[in-house]
């Protein structure tokens, strides 16, 4: 079955992309599957300079989900380009750089560094990380800011596709998507994690040192589907669906809503070969939906 997808200037072998922060720099998973088989890999969030991230504990398991407040620990964009990218099969699989910054100019500079790299297929702009500032409304919660960041990144991207990753922690996610589109985004990806928290009654402390963290995993899939549905009806640029996908069936649900492709995050922790298993399973799942074509399936949801 032909699983290829093309959108926003990207050509992917299949619509399964691993999500930022859940697949390291890809290499961690090389012994569990052939990285060349993936539609794409979004690497861990990158910042201009190295970041140590948040104090421990940083993760907590919750019912059908998990919290994280990693705080974008990363070796910095230069180290990524020098030490990791050359080892990745970037000619065969789209390597997407996830960008993290705390100001508009910083986003622009980061885009400038990444744009010149042949091995980087696209830029994903993380405007939505709710982890880093306690209680803080991020860029991603204000359409005006989203537009500004998108413009700044687009200007420096040298034609590389720019994907804006949206936060679900807003009253109206469709307006955020529209702002990204107006800012020149080539695609939007959603959702990032839901702002959440956990408490340990024995210690009477928040489970995460950062107090607040981001909820991901199967628990949030229904919210992610709703967001993707709302956004697909509002924007004309491609949409990448993210949130709680653990199976090929889950991936198809997002594609039925209109998603061009999907990202698999927390499922990579269920077992390290899960993204590869989802790809293997996709043809069988498509037959369940009575189709052998992703193009035919895409956006074919029947509304009452």
């Amino acid at each position: 079955m032909d699983l290829r997808v093309e959108f926003a200037g990207l050509v992917l072998k299949n619509p399964i992309i691993t999500a930022s922060g859940t697949f390291g720099f890809g290499l961690e998973f090389a012994s569990f599957g052939d990285l060349k088989r993936l539609g794409g890999i979004v690497v861990k969030g990158l910042s201009l300079t190295p970041r140590e991230g948040n104090p421990m504990p940083r993760v907590a398991e919750t019912p059908c989900g998990m919290l994280n407040a990693i705080g974008i620990q990363n070796p910095g964009v230069e180290a990524f380009l020098r030490d990791k990218l050359p080892l990745l099969p970037w000619r065969e699989t789209a390597i997407i750089a996830n960008m993290y910054a705390c100001s508009v100019p910083e986003f622009g500079d980061l885009a400038g560094v990444l744009a010149g790299e042949e091995g980087v297929a696209a830029l994903e702009v993380n405007v939505s990380c709710p982890n880093v500032t306690l209680g803080g409304a991020a860029f991603g919660q204000d359409p005006k800011q989203i537009r500004k960041v998108t413009e700044a990144v687009k200007k420096r991207a040298k034609g590389k596709p720019v994907i804006v990753k949206l936060s679900p922690n807003v009253t109206d996610i469709a307006s955020c998507a529209l702002a990204a589109q107006e800012g020149g985004a080539d695609a939007v990806s959603l959702i990032n994690t839901l702002l959440a928290m956990a408490v340990d009654i024995r210690t009477r402390k928040p489970t995460l040192a950062n107090v607040l963290g981001g909820l991901s995993g199967p628990a949030i899939k229904p919210v992610a589907l709703r967001c993707v549905h709302q956004v697909c009806r509002k924007v004309s640029i491609p949409v990448i669906g993210i949130g709680g996908i653990v199976s090929a069936e889950d991936a198809l649900e997002f594609i039925l809503l209109g998603a061009a492709a999907v990202q698999v995050g927390t499922a990579n922790f269920l077992r390290p070969d899960q993204s590869f298993r989802i790809i293997d399973d996709l043809p069988r799942a498509m037959l369940k939906a009575h189709s052998d074509s992703l193009d035919e399936l895409r956006g074919s949801l029947k509304l009452p």
Binding site: V59, E61, C64, Q73
Partner: protein
């Protein structure tokens, strides 16, 4: 090191340890070997039962206790949701395993090596002793709370010089610490101390090793989501205060190279 993998394998045997009639909280779980040709004792694997479903999205890390051609064995203490689900497995059930993960203990032959185990921290030492090229240079000191029968202690005591100290009440602690330090002193010159156990136990060992300049390695425990170095959820700090993943850069660290 062997290529690590992720496989679904069957439970060959599951056995509750101890002598009581009641099922205990200590389980010896033997699985089909997932195709591991070798491993380094101190390495671990992530486990999840195939039928867990999605409520617990993470596997659980356990020290590989021993590996032979057919099987791999773990010792599991039931403490929460994942371990109690593992304890309900029965022969023939399927388990997803990925490993061997992490680095493992040093095993220099001929070197006088002291194995310090606290509670379930004894698990990796079974394979360590079995695989060591000069087991006669090894010695085990085992600190434990519940009865000896709940741990793979006797089988180890048959192979190496072993001593067990039980903590009945918190008042026993100072005595236990004194005894640990006393034995460690014997390894100050040219020896090696390896420790696995709860964090306070490791802390005692590390502090004394640093103070007396004894070469030591300690095996850390952290909550783990991926086990493969990707999620950055299990970090500890190196001597300079930089974060490093316990699962990928450890779980075994030189006592000098990690902050507890």
């Amino acid at each position: 090191m062997v290529e690590r993998n992720c496989r679904e394998v069957k439970v060959r045997e599951i056995r509750f340890l101890g002598t009581w009639d009641e099922p205990s909280d200590f389980v010896e779980l033997t699985l089909e070997n997932p195709g591991w040709e070798s491993y380094r004792p101190g390495q671990f694997a992530m486990l999840r039962a195939r039928h867990w479903g999605l409520e617990l999205p993470w596997g659980r890390p356990f020290s590989i206790s021993r590996v032979d051609a057919e099987s791999v064995t773990f010792f599991i203490q039931v403490v929460g949701r994942g371990t109690s689900r593992l304890a309900r497995l029965r022969t023939g059930d399927e388990v997803v395993v990925w490993g061997p993960l992490g680095n493992g203990f040093s095993a220099p032959p001929e070197t006088p090596t002291l194995l310090l185990a606290g509670g379930m921290g004894i698990a990796p030492f079974r394979g360590y002793v079995e695989r060591h090229r000069t087991p006669e240079s090894l010695r085990l000191v085992f600190a434990h709370r519940t009865g000896l029968d709940f741990y793979p202690y006797q089988s180890l005591a048959q192979l190496v010089h072993a001593e067990a100290i039980q903590e009945h009440t918190p008042e026993d602690l100072p005595g236990i610490i004194a005894r640990l330090e006393e034995v460690m002193d014997e390894y100050a010159e040219g020896g090696l101390v390896l420790a696995c156990g709860p964090t306070p136990f490791l802390h005692t060992v590390q502090t004394y090793a640093l103070k007396m300049d004894i070469r030591a390695e300690i095996s850390l425990e952290k909550t783990m989501a991926c086990g493969v170095g990707a999620c950055l959820g299990c970090v500890c700090k190196d001597a300079e205060g930089k974060h490093m993943q316990v699962c990928a850069r450890g779980p075994v660290f030189p006592a000098t190279g990690v902050q507890l």
